[in-house]
């Protein structure tokens, strides 16, 4: 009762207040409504409602009802009733203020806008909502429609190009630049360094399309190409070498990712592989150092080192978001990260897609691990590569030619002395019919009858060794765990310290259990005795700490020899369930027919020669005089390791290889936190995990509002049909993203060719290289973009092919306005002309500004960016950056005039020209690749004379001032 009274009072007050205008108001609203139903309604339905209340509610603005219209959206109020001049909507429609509406379309005709203005002026009345079901507009989950898939960026590539088409068929080109300009342009664009005067003159004097192509090829093959282009990718990868946040600790081993990018570009790694390895190199090729280095991409983002319990989970979701969002921007120019808290406001990316993809990173953590980089270091060391090749050729030549003669004479000799040398060794080595690791380790057989494990090393493993029982008279088994250089501390185990922990050994013959007893071992770790192997306790084990790098053995008597029947399957099952990764790295099993009490661990082995002899005997017997090539090859294979000459040649090769082979190096990688040791937070207590077991759907991105567990999935809009899903989730993402049949491959190709085009032509075909979505720009030349993307995929993702195609086009050679070099190229240019540059490639960088290496080797510490780099618009390295800004500030000029390092380079430059007969002409050629004009020459002569006078006739100082001036002038850092 009271409420209704208040309401009535209120309404009365309202009426009495408004009564003066009441009639006027009513008639205006009626007029407004008429305009609405006759015209405005149609306009809104045609041009607006699709994105503002229909299938999408972009920018939070829903104009399907009058209420929504007047409420506005994320950008604030859009329409003020009766005030068209104050309604931002009108300025959007008139394209006098952004966002222009409708977006990416031509402006509405003026008469229509005037109608809308009038409609607003009269009160913006509706007759009914624009859509029938306006109740549930905001709540329904986003659906990805066929229309969404047909958006230009998500649609399949157009492929109806006539054969023989080239870039210049797509674009109209102006006049070509002079050869002198082109030489300079090519050197800077491809290597980030200036050409020497000689190189310029060579190109100018011998100018032809052929010499242009040759220079392009030459520069694409230069080492400096990778150093130049890697830096473009590092911007995109938000690469830095410190954690950021509180303490900004250094990531001492993060630079390997930078080196990976340089190497990959130099060796022209196919782009799809380049992408796959960055997402899942650790899963796809764990033994390849490049693949491991590539995973630094995922972990290049910031990482808070001090967190509190209440923040821990949000921080983990932030970290995963960083990986996913960067992958989206860098590889697909898609702002996936925008779908974290709500369905993407502009692009067809439902929040569900976001969390499904996010789940791929659930267990992904940073870790510093040891990697053998030997195979990489050979590259770039031509001398050693030659030596290795020579040694290998010598060995293989011998194997193909001289070996057969040696075998014949050996075979003859042994048959003559056979009777005399017959031995009865204590232990006979068993060779398996099959040897399998449950956890997926792979074994390779060694010449001495052992089996070396490599590849996967799961936390717990089971080896199954199957052979034929060799004789009825089995009395004992010997199990050897042997050292090998491939393992930590030389093994014999694959644990992170080289240890083993064998928890269980079971043997059966013909399915009957063989009872083992009286175990003995060469060594037993405290509390981990050999007896634990046969104690029927799966967790207790035999281990060897600290006796690493040595061969070890355990021997067991057989209690029931009668159960061993020759020819039946003899099965050994070894279990490792005691400690993480403590699996035997090199295994050998033997039997003995001797009395157990007489046996020792190691002596009396059948020698490699005896083993080989036995095998050869068997083969020859079985062949019954029928020697064919196949058998000959097989015999030589077995004989090879015991041939003295071959062994000598082989060990020589091994020795040379080992000069570089063992480069065990710490590398920061990203991998499964269950398998590697995660990098810890500074304040981590046990209650703060490194990662959580599962990734949940979150409401509004809030870890306090968890939904169900998210299972791996891909962006629906980029998925057609079935995309194979491997068990490993990041590999699945990597395969999907490069899949040009059913996955995101077409967009992946569009994005990278656009980036390459951008760096050569100054502006991408799509001007927003990190956003191909609705908010981004449209391609200025869609056919060219698709054709280039097609070329990339057709040529097996060959990036240098795309570089070459662009560089050899008229479009690239056309005249253009000068462009400022980036920070690195500005400094490298100065270093190059000074001839002070240290060309050492790869390895840890430094923060020291006086460093003389190329600028890509500056360490990137997030809170201490190298000032000269930062001054010239270095990226902030916090998020992916597709295009650097170019600013011009006095602090940049101060570097040129006052920075001692810059002066040092000017002095180096001066030294270079000071002895020359015509130092000014020489300087112009070095700095600008051309000769000075008469004007310039006169000015230079006058300047140097004056400076020399004021420097008490010190010509070198005057020349340094002159060189400093050349380096400060615009022509030095603006390249046409």
């Amino acid at each position: 009762m009271k409420n209704s009274f208040t309401l009535i009072t209120f309404i009365t007050a309202l009426i009495s207040f408004a009564v003066g205008n009441e009639l006027d108001h009513a008639s205006k609203m009626a007029a407004s409504q008429k305009i609405f139903s006759n015209e405005v309604r149609g306009i809104l339905i045609d041009r607006c409602v699709k994105c503002h209340g229909g299938k999408k509610t972009r920018s939070g603005f829903n104009l399907t009802t009058r209420q929504g219209l007047l409420l506005g959206g994320d950008q604030g109020v859009a329409v003020i009733a009766r005030e068209p001049n104050k309604s931002p909507l009108i300025t959007y429609l008139r394209h006098t203020e952004e966002p222009f509406m409708p977006p990416k379309e031509s402006r509405l005709p003026d008469p229509l806008i005037e109608k809308i203005e009038k409609w607003i002026a009269l009160g913006a009345a509706y007759d009914k909502p624009l859509l029938d079901n306006t109740t549930n507009q905001d709540e329904g989950p986003m659906e990805v429609t066929e229309e969404d898939r047909s958006y230009w960026a998500f649609a399949p590539l157009k492929n109806d190009f006539p054969s023989g088409v080239k870039i210049d068929d797509f674009v109209k080109n102006g006049e070509s630049s002079s050869p002198r300009t082109l030489a300079r342009r090519l050197y800077f664009d491809l290597t980030g360094l200036p050409p020497s005067p000689k190189e310029v003159n060579q190109f100018v004097n011998n100018n032809s399309p052929e010499s242009h192509r040759k220079l392009v090829d030459q520069l694409l093959e230069s080492k400096q190409f990778g150093e130049r282009w890697a830096r473009h990718w590092l911007d995109i990868a938000r690469f830095a070498e410190s954690h950021g946040f509180e303490q900004d600790y250094d990531r001492k081993f993060a630079f390997h990712y930078r080196d990976f990018v340089i190497r990959a570009f130099n060796e022209n790694m196919p782009y799809d592989q380049f992408v796959r390895w960055q997402i899942a190199g650790d899963e796809l090729a764990p033994n390849n150092p490049m693949a491991m280095m590539a995973t630094g991409f995922l972990g290049a983002g910031v990482f808070p080192t001090q967190i509190t319990i209440s923040e821990a989970e949000r921080v983990r979701y932030d970290a995963m978001d960083d990986m996913l969002a960067t992958m989206g921007s860098a590889m697909l120019a898609t702002t996936i990260g925008c779908a974290r808290c709500h369905d993407h406001k502009y692009d067809p990316i439902p929040t569900k897609d976001y969390y499904r993809m996010l789940s791929a990173f659930t267990t992904t953590v940073r870790s510093d691990i040891n990697i053998d980089m030997g195979s990489l270091d050979n590259k770039g060391n031509d001398e050693l590569t030659q030596k290795i090749k020579k040694a290998k050729d010598a060995r293989d030549d011998y194997a193909n030619k001289g070996l057969i003669t040696a075998f014949r004479s050996w075979n003859k000799g042994r048959l003559q002395t056979k009777a005399a040398s017959k031995k009865d060794p204590q232990w006979n080595i068993l060779s398996p019919k099959s040897l399998l690791s449950k956890g997926g380790a792979t074994f390779s057989s060694q010449a001495d009858g052992s089996h070396l494990a490599s590849g996967k090393n799961p936390a717990f493993d089971t080896y199954t060794f199957i052979t034929s029982t060799p004789t009825d008279n089995l009395r004992a088994f010997r199990l050897e765990a042997l050292a090998h250089k491939s393992m930590k501390s030389g093994g014999p185990g694959r644990a992170s310290n080289g240890n083993i922990a064998l928890s269980d050994l079971k043997v059966t013959c013909g399915g009957r259990p063989i009872k083992l007893a009286n175990p003995k071992a060469t060594f037993e770790q405290k509390n981990l005795p050999v007896a634990a192997i046969i104690d029927n306790n799966a967790k207790s084990a035999w281990a060897l700490d600290p006796q690493f790098g040595k061969d070890h053995a355990a021997i067991f008597e057989i209690n029931n020899p009668a159960d061993c029947k020759a020819g039946e399957d003899l099965v050994f099952v070894l279990k490792f369930e005691n400690n993480t990764g403590h699996n035997i790295g090199r295994l050998r099993l033997s039997f003995s027919a001797h009395k157990p009490e007489t046996l020792t661990f190691g002596e009396g082995n059948a020698s490699p020669e005896e083993i080989a002899t036995n095998q050869i005997d068997k083969l020859i017997k079985a062949a019954k005089g029928q020697f064919d090539n196949k058998l000959r090859t097989r015999l030589l294979e077995i004989y090879k390791p015991i041939d003295e000459k071959w062994r000598e040649l082989d060990s020589n090769l091994t020795k040379i290889e080992s000069e570089q082979k063992k480069t065990i190096t710490k590398v920061m990688v990203c991998s499964d936190g269950n398998k590697v040791k995660p990098m810890r937070h500074h304040t981590s207590s046990d209650s703060i995990p490194n990662f959580y077991k599962q990734t949940h759907f979150l409401k509004r991105g809030d870890t306090g509002q968890k939904g169900e567990v998210a299972k791996l999935g891909f962006l629906q809009v980029l998925t057609r049909g079935d995309v194979p899903r491997s068990e490993k989730s990041r590999s699945a993402i990597a395969n999907w993203i490069t899949d040009s049949e059913n996955g995101a491959g077409h967009l992946l190709a569009r994005v990278i060719v656009n980036r390459i085009w951008q760096h050569y032509l100054g502006q991408g075909i799509v001007a927003t290289p990190n956003d191909f979505g609705f908010q981004g720009e449209r391609p200025s030349n869609p056919a060219l973009l698709d054709w280039l993307a097609h070329e990339l995929i057709n040529k097996k993702w060959n990036l240098k092919h795309i570089h070459r195609t662009i560089l050899n086009s008229d479009a690239y050679c056309a005249k253009r306005m000068p462009r400022r070099l980036e920070a690195e190229a500005i400094r490298d240019n100065a270093l190059a002309v000074s001839e002070l540059m240290d060309k050492k490639m790869y390895g840890a960088g430094t923060l020291k500004e006086e460093m003389l290496r190329r600028s890509i080797y500056f360490m990137i510490k997030r809170t201490k960016l190298v000032p000269i780099m930062q001054s010239f618009d270095w990226p902030d390295s916090l998020t992916s950056l597709g295009k650097r800004s170019v600013t011009t500030t006095p602090s940049q000029a101060l570097i040129f005039i006052n920075d001692p390092n810059m002066r040092r380079m000017a002095e180096g430059f001066a030294k270079r020209i000071s002895g020359k007969s015509d130092p000014i002409k020489e300087a112009y050629q070095i700095a600008y690749g051309r000769f000075p004009s008469d004007n310039e020459l006169t000015a230079a002569v006058a300047f140097i004379e004056e400076q020399q006078k004021s420097h008490s006739t010190d010509k070198y100082k005057a020349l340094s001032d002159f060189c400093g001036a050349l380096m400060s002038a615009n022509e030095f850092i603006y390249i046409e």
Binding site: G244, Q775, D876, T888, R903
Partner: protein
Amino acid sequence: MIKDNHCGRIEKAFNRRELLQRAGGGIGMLALNSLLIGKGEANTNIGPNPMAARHPHGFGNAKRVIWLFINGGPSHVDTWDYKPGLEKANGKKLEGFDNTTGFFDKAVGPLLKSPFEFKQYGNSGMWASSIFPHLSQHVDKMAFIKSFHTKSNNHSPALFMANTGVPRMSNPCVGSWVTYGLGTENQNLPAFVVMSDPLNRGLPKGHAANWGSGFLPGAFQGTWVRSKGEPIPNLKRIAGLSDQQQRAQLDFVGKLNAIHEKRYPEETQLTARIKSFELAYRMQQEAPECFEIGNEPEHIKSLYGIGEKRCAHFARQCLMARRMIERGVRFVQIYSGGMENARSWDGHGDIRKNHTQFAGETDQPIAGLLADLEQRGMLDETLVIWGGEFGRLPVSQLSGGKPTGRDHNPHAGCYWFAGGGTRGGTSYGETDEVGHKAAVDTVEIHDIHATILHLLGMDHKRLTYLHSGRRFRLTDVSGRVIHDVVA
């Protein structure tokens, strides 16, 4: 490539090729091409100088900002937010308190009344604690916000919140947004200057990211002034080069550039770079003078407390701030205290000792700054901000078993504004009875940011920058101007 901006003024965007798509119309207040360089050089078209002064539309008194960043988490209940309720409840347990609110969940003690005496001051009768004998004389200039709360209980995320609006290391800070929006009035000095603790107590957590420009162009980042040696890099001519020799060299560079420029008459970037050398030459002359406080008269030095050992370092910084502001620097931020614990206002162990010390370091210098700005008639156009990343808890933190410290409190904190068109002698918002949580008219950092921009004449919803497919704002999707503190 002419676009209209939100102000309805026609202007060329940033740099027509490089930044068009990013800045677009959303660059907001920027008139980046038809610009005014300071000091009366009207309407010189200098191309893409990001620092040229720009004029927002007609509201807002403030032209400059000095933010005294009270680093480490100043305790609101021991400074400006008087809580008689806490006095009464002293020694009692705070019912329902979540022990993980602060940093140390295992050292939570009972409620602890302030060890300092509170009194009312000025015509407005604002409360202040006894640690501020000088500042308490200026309460009629201050507009207090006593219901601030934030999102993190941890220094660096909370510092990032206070400076950038997000608890992560990613976005531009307030000073960068302000210089992006307004440029600067003196091209010979940096637009945005940051001073940190000069007593070797470290940088605030998160270091330079607190004054970083994030995705905005690098030109908008704060210039960190070194406390020893050359205040900013490359101001000194290289050894062996006289002014005359350098002048001759610059003139020669000018000649080379003039010849080069004729080949590309339409390229404004080249012209801008030519000018930048002249600006650099002048900055080299003017900046050292600006940082040099030796020539200030004695009575000014003593007003700031430069003779007092306990506060001399901060006094110098405050006086330098005034000199910069006077010469047209747009935004100055001074951090009181270094890293954490006893090195800043982070009074975990002993709140009485900690806050007595840090109030002692800053009380007279800040009071001197306010008085000096006022007597020079600059306070109206200079917004002075006092505040840090969060407040502290009303419950004690046990230190050696004794209830003497206070832990971080993300739920409540206190700010004050003075000058720059704010309403002095007012207070907005309240915490609960004991000062545990903001309770009445609660204020987020976005609201404080929105108010700062408003006082400077900028609409926080319109100052935007397109990055990674999104139009970013300092206030993200939040922010509300606190009109109660605006005069």
